[in-house]
């Protein structure tokens, strides 16, 4: 339990998907124009991550590793993500149309979000680690903690950036730097700020 908690906090701050590994950058930069939309996308990422990562964890530990099928992992992971996202989309559409109208457009986009796929590949590396290591994912609980933590960290980052970009509308930025250029530099400065978490030892 304690291990899962420290893994959770670590994944949000020190190993933040955006600022430490640059995962999910494309949608991060494209959708962060206003706070509301980016919060919607953030929730969708947490949602998909939390549902698919434990499934892939079980597949990795109980199917791929014992049978020595490691080389099939890419295809299997991406198929699971695409299938579950599609399934979730259909269920959400039926059960809660209001949730669908906020999440719906993002769900297909998320199937190819690097943060989701990256979470899988890190998980695949980390199941092999020594269980004492803070980064290790030793059981299903850890997989859940890692999934929620990485999704939350991603959401935190995109909402912060959207807030800054909304303010920046009023600033006088040199013309060639406007738009995407200054966004990159802003994210760079934010990443510098987030680096202060890297010494965190929980």
């Amino acid at each position: 339990m304690e291990h899962a908690l420290s893994l959770f906090v670590r994944t949000i701050f020190a190993d933040n998907m955006i600022f430490a590994f640059f995962l999910g950058m494309c949608s991060f930069l494209a959708v962060s124009k206003d706070v509301k939309t980016s919060a919607g996308l953030g929730v969708a990422v947490i949602f998909v991550q939390t549902i698919t990562l434990p499934v892939n964890y079980l597949l990795q530990v109980h199917v791929l590793a014992p049978l020595g099928l490691g080389y099939l992992s890419f295809i299997l992971f991406i198929a699971v993500i695409a299938a579950i996202t599609q399934l979730v989309e259909m269920i959400v559409e039926k059960v809660s149309p209001s949730l669908y109208s906020t999440l719906g457009i993002f769900l297909p986009l998320i199937a190819v979000n690097c943060a989701i796929m990256g979470g899988r590949l890190f998980m695949q590396q980390r199941v092999l680690l020594d269980p004492e290591n803070v980064k290790a994912i030793a059981n299903l609980g850890d997989a859940f903690a890692f999934a929620i933590g990485s999704g939350l960290g991603w959401m935190l980052a995109i909402v912060c950036l959207a807030g800054i970009r909304e303010k920046m509308e009023y600033n006088n930025v040199p013309k060639p730097l406007q738009g995407i250029g200054i966004t990159f530099i802003t994210v760079g400065l934010m990443a510098l700020a987030f680096m202060c978490f890297s010494g965190l030892n929980i």
Binding site: C26, F74, A79, A111, C114
Partner: protein
């Protein structure tokens, strides 16, 4: 020799329509692998090969893919190609493969691939798709090499692992800029490259 359209498909992505600088695709890996020149080169070449081949495969079967499940078909084609490249790298360049770690697998979700497959290969013939794939791959690799060159040169004074800044510079007080090695500097450098690229292109336009 080559028709105008084919030429455009190859040359466009190198400058005016660069996938990284203009379309802002494939940023994740572009930033993460650029601490040193060697992994950046390997990554650029791998992506070029995969984009070109995936474009060709999808262009070949584009007429028989049902529209509703095209994303999954595209993902499976890309995932198969990435698996092959990843196994080859592990066999012949193990240290680089370890350095690139998860970012090889992440080529699957590299937006350049999905973007090109959706926007180009689904509607164009095989030859144009091949040229488009190569052009986009080179355009991507070019940015990777520029950023990695600056980061390795300024951050550790080396290029491809060889010391290029001579010892007497260090004796006279020159120090490596450690900040260049940090992830944050990759973002800021790409921002600056975009800045330079835009201001140059604006001048040509006027």
């Amino acid at each position: 020799m080559l028709s105008k359209q084919t030429k455009e498909a190859f040359l466009g992505p190198l400058n005016a329509n660069n996938p990284v600088l203009v379309q802002i695709l494939g940023i994740c890996s572009a930033l993460a692998v650029t601490v040193q020149l060697k992994p950046a080169l390997v990554m650029g070449i791998s992506v070029t090969i995969i984009v070109a081949l995936a474009n060709v495969v999808i262009a070949l079967i584009r007429k028989s893919i049902p529209m509703r499940i095209r994303i999954i078909v595209q993902l499976v084609v890309v995932a198969a190609l990435v698996t092959i490249v990843s196994e080859i790298l592990k066999a012949f360049a193990y240290d680089v493969a370890m350095q690139l770690s998860v970012y090889i697998g992440l080529i699957i979700t590299n937006c350049i691939l999905m973007g090109r497959l959706e926007a180009f290969a689904m509607t164009n013939n095989v030859k144009d798709s091949l040229m488009d794939g190569l052009g986009n791959g080179f355009g991507y690799a070019m940015i990777l090499v520029i950023v990695a060159f600056l980061r390795e040169l300024l951050g550790s004074g080396k290029l491809l692992g060889f010391q290029v800044i001579p010892q007497w510079c260090y004796d006279h007080g020159y120090t490596n800029c450690g900040m260049m090695l940090m992830p944050a500097m990759a973002l800021i450098l790409v921002g600056c490259v975009i800045w330079a690229h835009r201001s140059l292109n604006d001048k040509e336009g006027k």
